[in-house]
Symmetry: C2
């Protein structure tokens, strides 16, 4: 068993506790140990919280407990967090943090302090996307040619809305604030400072460079106007706030600013509150990582992954599980039971009653039509093609219907069936 | 020093040797050890190869060498590779492999055989994209709701071409063969079997399921016609060969087939020979990983990353480097030296000679114009807006030009400058 203390029980802290409870079995199968949150530290004990662990406002007593194995630092701020984390590391206890500001200023100090213990910080950049791991381990064979990151969901939400809806910066910012995507004082996000913190963390891993936020070029999105959007569209660009790191000789470019990006690049397609990071290596070429860059659950996913990494003690099991997944072993679903949406293309003689007969076959197989299109080529008016897209239905029923359709006398050629896969 | 043997010196093997030579210093900084390829094993000694290591066709002698620390299995095939890898593992030596067929059939046998040693196989799925690491470690806190992967570059190239150019399957296949994107006998790729091997590897890590290729639904792209493309476009879909794994209760859906995907989903935007894998977790939501899924250099990038992981002995350094990066320490590039393309929006009184005067300022600052647009609003014909996009130039020159433009008497409002960032 690994006992964990959560320092700071806000949105992310609560999600961490929730994941450790809800996914306890699979987490144990993956790391071979039970990871249990045993105490939370909060500033304000009077605030009501719906959380299944004891809480205290006495951080000193928690840091001094001998039975805690890993501390999760979610307090925010820089200097207090730094002294707390340093103290924990000095006791040989490991820390997982989501605190990008702490790392933007003290990552090299923390690396020195973490000689006897581990420090996990995957959650500090791009929330749930494991981009630190990708850069530090996945692309470790490469010299990194460039990093380009959409690292701030607030800015990306605002710019996406401005691109799509011709809305003004002011109006979209107000809307983002109402939706909770932007803070009451949005300077830290829209000014590019949050993205800069994250960029510096990535740049250290790529280049070993010890830059601080004050030393790099940072511009925000406040001055983007609808005329800029107009130009961008006209010349097939999108406008994104991008954090850029590039090595040129013995110098590293580090800058955060709104940029015009060709609209067919992968990173240009990252919209709304989502984050995306393009990492370009001298051998691997361009790779891109996409996902939720903020939010309690996504950020907590990265925090708990770091806990699991520490619990695995650097020995990640080959196929991901140290022990079988569940008491009931998983089996392959028989093909017939698969349920999805389907598409049929049926070529038929153009006769009266054709559609009615095919529709009847589909009805008999309990297949409900979502979209339908019929197309007759001008030059071949004796044949016509029917296209159906269905609602969700069972593979077995689809296979049955396909056989029935094949028997119909007016059907020419084999009917083509494809499956439709949508995230929702 | 870590000595490595390369079993199979084809495209990937040659790239591995090349990376270990060219990036030797940064690799050593990242893992604390020199990784040196000392011997290559080939089938045909008479074939000419431009490679800087000794070669032999006597695999037994190489397997029996005591001084080799890690073996890289790039022989291909299933049963011979299996017995070779098992023998190496039984000696307590680690193996890195890119052999997806081997893993599709023997991954659980290999996991058992790898008790005393490591087996790395990041290169077996999606080439250079570190998707195995993302799934096994990055998303380990999650139950995986679904995996959707574009796992075969040949199919994706063909389908992308068919979507974009209304070309027939046959013609595009022929072109792909001429370009080296498809084999002379393309069945393994276009029939979906290659993608199925990769899907099974991912499904094991997500669900611990021991399926074999024969047990799952596999359909290829041979029957996709231009009429299907027509329907897809009409209803805002793209057609992709997708490997799907989904858990429903105690059953796991495993299937590979062409699918209609809504065109606004991230995975729908993965085009050409590129691969993309969407991993959806119960807490993290959707994450997507994009990059080159094949090719010597990209695949070798993943092979070498596995070597580095093994050399790090599970202790990945916090910021990625065990020792300083290079003799010459990297420094931050001064802002003024940054070179990129730029965009200006200048609002001016609509007078004679305005454009000439601004163009002259740009020329004086050695800024060359790539695109230009002038727009006058119908209702405000006394003012006009000039938009410039430049070729590459220096930030210092741009800042100088901005100051000069500001001084011009006919300029209204502050000129807005944005940087243009393109991969090429």
């Amino acid at each position: 068993m690994i006992k964990v203390a959560v320092l700071g029980v806000g949105t992310v802290g609560s999600s961490v506790v929730k994941i450790l409870e809800k996914n306890a079995d699979i987490i144990q199968a993956r790391c071979g140990k039970r990871i249990v949150p045993v105490i939370g530290v909060v500033r304000d004990m009077s605030k009501k919280r719906d959380i299944g662990i004891p809480l205290t406002d006495d951080i000193k007593s928690v840091i001094n407990r001998d039975d805690i194995d890993i501390y999760i630092e979610l307090m925010g701020g820089i200097e207090q967090a730094y002294s707390v984390v340093k103290e924990i590391l000095s006791k040989g206890k490991s820390v997982v943090t989501a605190n990008k500001a702490l790392l933007a200023y003290h990552r090299y100090d923390l690396q020195k302090a973490a000689q006897k213990a581990k420090i996990g910080f995957e959650a500090s950049v791009a929330g749930g996307i494991p981009v630190i791991k990708a850069l530090r381990e996945g692309l470790s064979a490469n010299h990194i040619t460039a990093i380009k990151g959409i690292l701030n969901g607030t800015c990306n939400y605002i710019l996406t809305k401005m691109m799509n809806e011709k809305a003004s910066f002011k109006d979209v910012l107000k809307e983002a604030q109402e939706l909770g995507y932007a803070e009451a004082d949005p300077t830290f996000d829209i000014g590019g400072f949050d993205a800069a913190h994250k960029l510096l963390i990535l740049a250290s891993i790529a280049y070993g460079i010890e830059a601080k936020p004050e030393e790099i070029l940072i511009e925000g999105i406040e001055n983007i106007g609808n005329e800029d959007i107009y130009f961008a569209k006209e010349f097939e660009y999108v406008i994104k706030l991008i954090g850029i790191a590039k090595k040129k000789g013995d110098k590293v470019e580090l800058r955060v600013h709104p940029s015009l990006i060709p609209q067919d690049e992968m990173i240009a397609k990252v919209n709304g509150v989502m984050n995306g990071v393009s990492l370009i290596g001298d051998f691997v070429g361009e790779t891109m990582y996409y996902g939720a860059g903020a939010g309690g659950d996504a950020t907590a996913s990265a925090v708990v992954a770091d806990l699991i990494d520490i619990a695995r003690e650097g020995q990640s099991p080959m196929l991901g599980f140290k022990s079988p997944l569940e008491k009931a072993k998983l089996v392959i679903m028989p093909k017939d039971e698969v349920e999805t949406k389907y598409y049929f293309r049926v070529k038929v003689k153009d006769e009266i009653g054709v559609l009615a007969k095919i529709a009847a076959v589909l009805e008999l197989s309990q297949i409900s039509i979502e979209s339908f299109l019929q197309k007759t080529e001008a030059k071949k008016s004796d044949t016509t093609t029917l296209f159906f897209a269905t609602h969700h239905c069972k593979e077995a029923n689809v296979q049955k219907a396909l056989k029935e359709i094949e028997k119909l006398p007016f059907v020419i050629d084999k009917t083509n069936m494809l499956r439709i896969e949508a995230n929702t």
